[in-house]
Amino acid sequence: MPKQILIADDSESIREILAFNLKNAGYEVLVAKDGLDAMQFLDGRSIDLVLTDYHMPNLSGLELIVKVRQIEKYKFIPILVLTTEKQVEIIREARDSGATGWLLKPFSTDKLLQTLRKIIR
C-alpha cells in the first residue's frame, strides 16, 4: 500500500510540483487549496502524512493542524509545515499547535523526500 499524503497549499504551482514529485517518489497524493479545503479529505480515509503551507487563506496551516489533531483518527499522524520563516518562534508555534516538523522554503525534492523519511516509513 503506497502511503497517502495530503497536500494543502494555496499556491497552485507549489501544489502541483509537490504532487508531481511525491507521486514520482511513489506516494499517493491528495491536494487541497487551503486549510478549509483540506478538511474535506479528513473524512475517515487513511492518510499517512499532511503537508501544509503555513500561510493560507480560510484556514491557516496552524489552524488546520489543530483541527486535524482534534480528530481521533488523525491524532497521531505526522504533519509537516511548509514555511519561509526562519524564525524560531514560528517553528515553536507550529510545534505547539501539533506539527511534527517543518520544511523551509525553498527546498529541493531531495530535501523534501529526506525530511519525509524522518517522519514516515
Binding site: 500561510h55 501539533g98 514516515i120
Partner: protein, 686 residues
C-alpha cells in the same frame, strides 16, 4: 518542470496585480492592518515560491520588501506615500526579474532593488533589525567530505507527550543509525508501573554512541523537529572511531555519571540543541490579523476583491470549448431546418428540447469566457497614481459597474486604448491644481470609468472633469490640415469626433488640444477591430467623455442577417443605426452615391452592385444605416431577413487575404453567411 514554471509565472503576475491593487488601497488608508497583512502575505508567498521555481532574484528582493512591510505590520511605523511609490516601482523591477536565466543586468537590478529597500528600511527603523531573525540550528554540512570518523555520545530523552505531534522517535534513531556506526542503549527508567501506563505516552529514552564522518550539525539536524520536545545532548567522545573500544566508552560514561569533565581526548564539546526563548505573543496576534485580512472583503475602496472557488483553465481550452459550442449551434440550426421540413411531431419535440439545452450550453460557454472589466482597474489606478505624482495633479479614479463582463480576448485588447485615453485625460484633460481653483472647481480632479451591459454589448464610458475640448481650435486645425474644408458645416459634436481621424494627430504638442489628438486614431482602430464603436462627447471646461461600445464576445455576436442575390451576409448589430426600405429606382438614379433619408443626406454603397454584379435587382431594397466613425453610412442590400445570433468562425487562409469580411457563420440551412467588416468595406469603396 517547465509547465510548473509557466504556471508559476502566471501566478506571479496575479500576485503582482494584487500587490499593486492592495498598495493603491493602502495609500488611501495607510493604517489598515488588513491591507498591510495582505501585502505581507503576498510578498511572503512570492519569496517562498520564487525560490522553489528557481527565481532566486525574485525571492531575494521580496525577502527584503517583506522585511520593510514587517515594520508596518508590527505597527511600529505608518506607511507613507514614498513607501507606496517605492514599492510600486520595485514591483516593476521585480517583473523584469522573472527570467529563468538571469543576466548580469538582472542581478545588478536585483541588488539595486535590495539596497534601495534597505535604505527604506533604515529610514523607518532605529531598532535593531537583526533582533527578529532567529537562529536555527544549522541544517547540515553536506560539504564536509572528510572521511575522518568522530565518535559522539548522544542522549535523547523525549518528552512524554512527543507522540502527540505525530513524531515517531524510532525513525530518528533509525536515521542516526544510517549516519554511522552506532552503539545504542535503551532506557526504561521512566517507565511507570503497568497500571499507570498511558499507551499514548512515550516513556523510553535512548543513549547512544555514534561513530560518523558527518558533522555535529548533521547529527543535530536529525533532531531538528523535536529539539523543543526532548532533552538532547551531543558530546564529542573522540576524534576517531572508538565505538568498539569498550574501555573508552565506559570511561566516558563514568565521567558522565560523576559529572566530571571528559578529558581523555581533547576537550568535550557540549552541544545544546536548545533554541532561543523568544516572546511570540506578538506573532500570534499578527497571525490573527493576517487570517482576518484574507477572508474579509476590502472596505473603503469601491471595488471588492473576489477570491472565489475557481480553477484555472488554459484559455486555449476555453477557446476550443467555445468553438465546439458554436459548431453545436450550427448543427442545431441545421436540425431545426430538417425538423420543420419533415413535420414529424416527435422529431420537433426533440428538436425543441435540444434547442433549449443548446441555448443554456451557449450561455454557459459564454459566461466562462467572460471576465469582469474590473480586472483592468488596477492598471488604470496605477497609471493615475503614477501620473498624479509626475504631473503634480491630484486625481481620483472612480469606477462604476465594472463587474460587467467581457470576453477575455476583448479585455486584453482593450487595455491599451483605455490606458491611452486615461493618459490623455491625466495629461491634457485635467487642469493643474491652480487652474482648477481658478475655475472654481474642486482641486482634486476626477476620472470616472463606468460600464453597462446593454443586450449583448457592453458600453464603457471614460470621463474626466477637466477642461473639455476646444471645438474652435479643433475646427481650425482640421481645416488647416485639410481634414475638412471650411465650407463644411459640422456641428460641434461632429467636430469633436475629428480627433479620431488619422490626419488629425500631429507632433506639435504646444497646446492641450494637439496632445489630446495624439494617437486617437489608433484607439479607434483598435475598438473597431473588435467590431466596436467609439465616440466622444465634450463640454468646454466641464468634461470629456469617451463612449466605447463593444460586443460581449468575439466569437458569438448579434448580427443582422441580410441577403444580396443568393448570398447571405451578417452585419454586426452594434454598428447598425437604422433600416430603411426604399425603391431601388431611387438608388439607381443617384450619381453622387448619396441618398436622402429622413431629410438627412447619407452616403451609401449599393452592395447589390458590388457583390452580385448585374443579376436581377429587386424592386425594393433595404438601406442599412451603420455608424462609420463619426458619420452614418448606408449599405443597400436586397433583403433584411432577421436578427441573428451568429457563431463566428474565422476565415481560412485563402479568404484572409481580403479584409472586407471578418469571419463567417454557417446558417441552419447549411449555407454560409459572411460577416461584413463595415469599416473596411466603406473605407475601400468610398
Amino acid at each position: 518542470m517547465n509547465s510548473f514554471v509557466e504556471k508559476f509565472k502566471v501566478e506571479v503576475s496575479e500576485y503582482f496585480e494584487r500587490l499593486e491593487s492592495r498598495l493603491l488601497q493602502l495609500e488611501q488608508d495607510p493604517e489598515d492592518l488588513q491591507i498591510i497583512g495582505d501585502i505581507f502575505r503576498i510578498m511572503h508567498t512570492m519569496k517562498g515560491s520564487g525560490g522553489m521555481f528557481g527565481f532566486d532574484l525574485l525571492s531575494d528582493v521580496t525577502h527584503d520588501l517583506e522585511s520593510l512591510f514587517e515594520i508596518f505590520r508590527s505597527k511600529e511605523k505608518i506607511v507613507d506615500s514614498e513607501v507606496i511609490s517605492f514599492t510600486l516601482n520595485s514591483i516593476d523591477g521585480l517583473k523584469q526579474l522573472m527570467v529563468e536565466n538571469p543576466t548580469d543586468e538582472n542581478r545588478l537590478l536585483a541588488s539595486k532593488l535590495k539596497s534601495d529597500t534597505l535604505l527604506q528600511i533604515t529610514r523607518f527603523s532605529q531598532t535593531d533589525l537583526n533582533s527578529e531573525i532567529g537562529i536555527l540550528p544549522g541544517n547540515s554540512a553536506e560539504n564536509s567530505i572528510e572521511a575522518k570518523q568522530t565518535t559522539y555520545y548522544i542522549s535523547f530523552v523525549p518528552d512524554e507527550n512527543i507522540l502527540n505531534n505525530g513524531t515517531n522517535p524510532l525513525y530518528l534513531i533509525d536515521e542516526l543509525n544510517a549516519l554511522g556506526e552506532c552503539n545504542i542503549q535503551v532506557s526504561f527508567d521512566r517507565l511507570p508501573p503497568l497500571a499507570e501506563i498511558d499507551p499514548l505516552k512515550c516513556y523510553i529514552s535512548w543513549y547512544l554512541f555514534i561513530s560518523t564522518s558527518e558533522s555535529v550539525d548533521t547529527l543535530q539536524d536529525v533532531f531538528i523537529f523535536v529539539a523543543n520536545s526532548a532533552l538532547i545532548t551531543i558530546q564529542k567522545v573522540a576524534n576517531e572511531n572508538v565505538i568498539h573500544k569498550e574501555a573508552v566508552l565506559a570511561a566516558f560514561l563514568n565521567a558522565q555519571i560523576n559529572e566530571e569533565p571528559w578529558t581523555l581526548l581533547e576537550s568535550n564539546l557540549q552541544e545544546s540543541a536548545e533554541s532561543n526563548e523568544v516572546d511570540r505573543v506578538e506573532e500570534k496576534e499578527i497571525a490573527g490579523v493576517l487570517l482576518k485580512s484574507s477572508t474579509e472583503v476590502s472596505k473603503n475602496t469601491g471595488f471588492t476583491q473576489t477570491t472565489v472557488d475557481s480553477i484555472r483553465v488554459d484559455s486555449g481550452k476555453i477557446d476550443l470549448y467555445m468553438n465546439l459550442v458554436s459548431e453545436f449551434i450550427t448543427a442545431q440550426s441545421r436540425l431545426e431546418q430538417i425538423s420543420s421540413n419533415l413535420k414529424n411531431p416527435e422529431l420537433e419535440l426533440v428538436t425543441e428540447t435540444f434547442e433549449k439545452l443548446n441555448r443554456q450550453l451557449r450561455d454557459n460557454a459564454f459566461d466562462m469566457s467572460l471576465i469582469p472589466i474590473e480586472s483592468l482597474t488596477t492598471r488604470l489606478k496605477r497609471l493615475v497614481h503614477d501620473l498624479s505624482k509626475s504631473l503634480d495633479k491630484e486625481v481620483v479614479l472612480v469606477t462604476e459597474g465594472l463587474e460587467a463582463e467581457l470576453d477575455k480576448n476583448i479585455i486584453e485588447k482593450l487595455i491599451e486604448p483605455l490606458l491611452h485615453i486615461v493618459r490623455n485625460s491625466m495629461d491634457h484633460g485635467i487642469e493643474s491644481k491652480s487652474e482648477r481653483l481658478l475655475k472654481q472647481k474642486n482641486a482634486i480632479g476626477t476620472i470616472s470609468v463606468k460600464a453597462y451591459t446593454v443586450g449583448s454589448y457592453v458600453q464603457i464610458e471614460i470621463e474626466d472633469d477637466g477642461n473639455g475640448l476646444n471645438v474652435d481650435q479643433i475646427r481650425e486645425k482640421a481645416i488647416a490640415s485639410g481634414l475638412i474644408s471650411n465650407q463644411e458645416n459640422l456641428t460641434d459634436a461632429e467636430v469633436c469626433q475629428l480627433i479620431f481621424e488619422p490626419g488629425f494627430s500631429t507632433s506639435e504638442s504646444v497646446n492641450s488640444l494637439s496632445g489630446r489628438g495624439t494617437g486617437m486614431d489608433v484607439v479607434r482602430n483598435c475598438v473597431q477591430s473588435m467590431r466596436g464603436f467609439i465616440e466622444l462627447v465634450s463640454e468646454r471646461d466641464q468634461f470629456t467623455r469617451f463612449i466605447i461600445k463593444l460586443p460581449l464576445s468575439l466569437s458569438i455576436i448579434d448580427g443582422l442577417l441580410v441577403q444580396i442575390g443568393d448570398s447571405f451576409y451578417i452585419i454586426p448589430s452594434s454598428l447598425v443605426s437604422k433600416l430603411y426600405l426604399i425603391k431601388s429606382e431611387l438608388l439607381k438614379k443617384e450619381i453622387n452615391q448619396v441618398v436622402e433619408l429622413d431629410g438627412v443626406q447619407i452616403p451609401y454603397l449599393n452592395l447589390h452592385e458590388e457583390f452580385d454584379g448585374d443579376k436581377r435587382v429587386p424592386e425594393e431594397q433595404f438601406v442599412v444605416v451603420v455608424f462609420y466613425g463619426n458619420h452614418f453610412f448606408g449599405l443597400a442590400v436586397d433583403e433584411v431577413i432577421r436578427e441573428y445570433q451568429a457563431a463566428i468562425k474565422p476565415l481560412g487562409r485563402m479568404p484572409k487575404s481580403q479584409n472586407l469580411f471578418s469571419g463567417a457563420s454557417i446558417l441552419g440551412s447549411g449555407q454560409l453567411a459572411l460577416v461584413i467588416d463595415t469599416n473596411k468595406l466603406i473605407q475601400k469603396y468610398s
